[in-house]
Amino acid sequence: MDILLAITVGGLYAAGIYMMLRRSVVKLLIGLGLLSHGANLLIFTAGGIVRGRVPVIPAGESQPLTAIADPLPQALILTAIVISFAVLAFALVLIYRTHQTLGTDDLDQLKATDT
């Protein structure tokens, strides 16, 4: 399972970076989305995967009896997902406005403010 997830993370990163290197702004955004999914999945994988063991301590015990899933990475991912959702929503509006104002989605045309 770890291997499978690791390959998925690698695939997401590769696809994300490939998309970001395209000229279209829309693809840039898709690439960013894939990149943040890759990072989230990386935390999930790196945090350790345990099947079907919820992190609940039985009544009367003071510590878990068996190996349990670590809940912290999942809390981190949840936070990260919320943040990346908000940021991507903003970025979508941004590229829409840019397209409206400048009439292009080609990054090579968006160089007036560069040096």
């Binding site: 989230n40 790196a46 945090g47 992190p55 878990p64 403010t113």
Partner: protein
């Protein structure tokens, strides 16, 4: 009242004032009043925090009384308190300057609540003692800066924003990945706890990988070579008040994080990490200043100088001696004040001529002698002419470099400072000495009511006074910087302050519940450890 409360005030004040401003959405006047009041309160709370830290060295607030490393820890050491103080200062200056320079449309769309949100993110990043919390503050700051950058929706703003957003989001993804890997390797995200665990971490390769991931993540925010391209593409596009607050604070959050990471966490392999930092510092200085020389618009020149000066701040960190690090701290203090001010002055010139292109401006030494004097002082300070603040900052850094016998970086620093002088002279000659361009319908700035003049020039005069003051009273500032550097080079004090109960971490071997070598039993052991430690606390 508990002194620890002072640590959270610089976060709580902007948050509260943002909320109140949002309630007063319809009333521009109310938002302006709230903005000024809250930034004065922020400045006050920062001063109190600095005073307390000066007395007690390190203030720690365990949020919700969860003991570190389980809860979120807020830590104010000397560096944090200096940074918060500077943030308060910049915020105060900019919030007064923006009273008259931000147009009504931008105010209607929430300019004032947004700068409060930005400041909350900045102060949070300076004060947190937890890596994931640092990520969250970065994002708070980023989302506010995204909106501030694009507010108004002009062509240039949108174009610059695409690069700014894309590259900053990439660095956030790198930061997030680094957090994932560091948690997998050590089982903690509390910085003090991490410092303990990384010190005895068996696999040096993984620590180096982590150091590089954080270097990329923080380096992009700090705009170091070769990750700085978002900065000169975007910083000259928004209104001047926004540019000034970005220029003063945002990259410095990256620099602060780099200093924190490379004085506290990654200090086991100095040969590798800090030599790399030194190389980056040199290249950042040189490329930044060369970029600036090629520009012919006031704010674009100043933007490239930000990049160049980030190099100086990293130089002290990379040399890693008390003197050099003190130089870095001094440089940050000097840079934030002067750079914000130069943007504000450039903004006044831009308002007058409706453009920041050097070809379109001129004759300011005759028409606005006060502005010319203020610019001259700031620009000379930036270039490092004695007796202004920049001179002492650079002197300390260069003495640090000579002491460490890194002559290449010293030569680079001196040459770059000469080139800085050159490009400041360029702005001076073009904008101030050259006769005003003919048939240019120049708008008179600062005329009209007395209030407008004060709001426009007051912050600039105050910041110039601080620059001159730092230069004339360099002794106390050097003492403060040296104390800060010594504190940074002694991570044990930081760890001791955050984790007074070291037995939790010391008795426990490094939990290896990671992908690097994981067996279910080990994972279990570490989870149990965490639970039993929590349990112990609760009883």
């Amino acid at each position: 009242m508990n002194t620890q409360v002072a640590v959270i005030l610089p976060i709580a004040i902007p948050l509260a004032s943002m909320a109140i401003s949002l309630l007063a959405w319809k009333s521009v006047a109310a938002q302006k009043v709230i903005g000024v009041v809250s930034s004065s309160l922020l400045l006050l709370s920062a001063a109190v925090l600095m005073w307390l830290v000066n007395r007690e060295d390190i203030l720690v607030l365990q949020v919700g009384s969860w003991p570190a490393p389980f809860g979120i820890t807020l830590v104010a050491d000397r560096l944090s308190s200096i940074m918060v103080m500077l943030a308060g200062l910049v915020m105060f200056a900019v919030s007064i300057y923006s009273l008259v320079t931000i147009d009504d449309r931008r105010v209607d769309y929430g300019f004032f609540p947004l700068i409060q949100l930005l400041l909350m993110g900045v102060c949070g990043a300076f004060l947190t003692g937890d890596l994931f919390n640092l990520y969250v503050w970065f994002e708070v700051m980023l989302i506010a800066s995204f909106v501030l950058l694009t507010l108004g929706g002009e062509r240039g703003q949108l174009e610059g924003a695409i690069k700014y957003v894309a590259l900053n989001l990439m660095s956030s993804a790198a930061f997030l990945a680094a957090i994932g890997v560091i948690y997998a390797a050590t089982g903690t995200l509390n910085m003090a706890d991490l410092a303990v665990k990384l010190r005895s971490f068996p696999d040096e390769g993984i620590v180096s990988v982590l150091a590089m991931l954080f270097l990329i993540a923080f380096g992009t925010k700090a705009a170091v070579f070769p990750l700085f391209f978002w900065l000169p593409a975007s910083y000259h596009t928004p209104p001047v008040a926004v540019s000034a607050i970005f220029a003063g604070l945002l990259t410095k959050v990256g620099v602060y994080s780099l200093i924190r990471a490379f004085t506290l966490l990654f200090i086991t392999d100095l040969q590798f990490t800090h030599n790399l930092l030194l190389l980056i510092a040199g290249l950042t200085m040189v490329t930044g200043v060369l970029g600036a020389m090629a520009q012919s618009e006031i704010r674009r020149i100043l933007s490239f100088h930000i990049v160049s000066q980030i190099g100086y701040m990293l130089m002290g960190l990379a040399l890693f001696t008390p003197l050099a690090l003190a130089g870095s701290v001094f440089y940050i203090i000097h840079h934030i004040v002067v750079k914000t001010n130069l943007f504000l002055i450039g903004g006044v010139a831009e308002r007058r001529f409706g453009s920041g292109r050097l070809a379109a401006v001129g004759g300011l030494h005759q028409s606005m002698p006060l502005l010319a004097t203020l610019f001259f002082l700031s620009a000379m300070s930036l270039a490092g002419v004695p007796p202004l603040s920049g001179f002492f900052a650079k002197l300390t850094l260069i003495r640090g470099g000579l002491e460490a016998e890194s002559y290449a970086i010293v030569v680079a620093a001196l040459v770059v400072s000469l080139l800085t002088l050159f490009s400041m002279t360029k702005i001076w000659a073009e904008a101030f000495w050259k006769p005003a361009p003919p048939n240019e319908a120049s708008i008179t700035v600062g005329s009209g009511s007395q209030f407008r003049r004060i709001a426009l020039f007051g912050p600039v005069v105050a910041l110039v006074a601080i620059t001159v003051g730092i230069g004339l009273l360099a002794g106390p500032v050097i003492t403060l910087s040296t104390a800060t550097a010594e504190q940074l080079l002694d991570p044990d004090a930081y760890i001791e302050a955050v984790l007074p109960d070291r037995h939790v971490t010391e008795s426990e071997p490094i939990p290896r519940d990671s992908v690097f070598d994981r067996t279910p039993a080990m994972h279990h052991a570490s989870a149990v450890n965490r639970h039993s430690a929590l349990d112990e606390y609760q009883q």
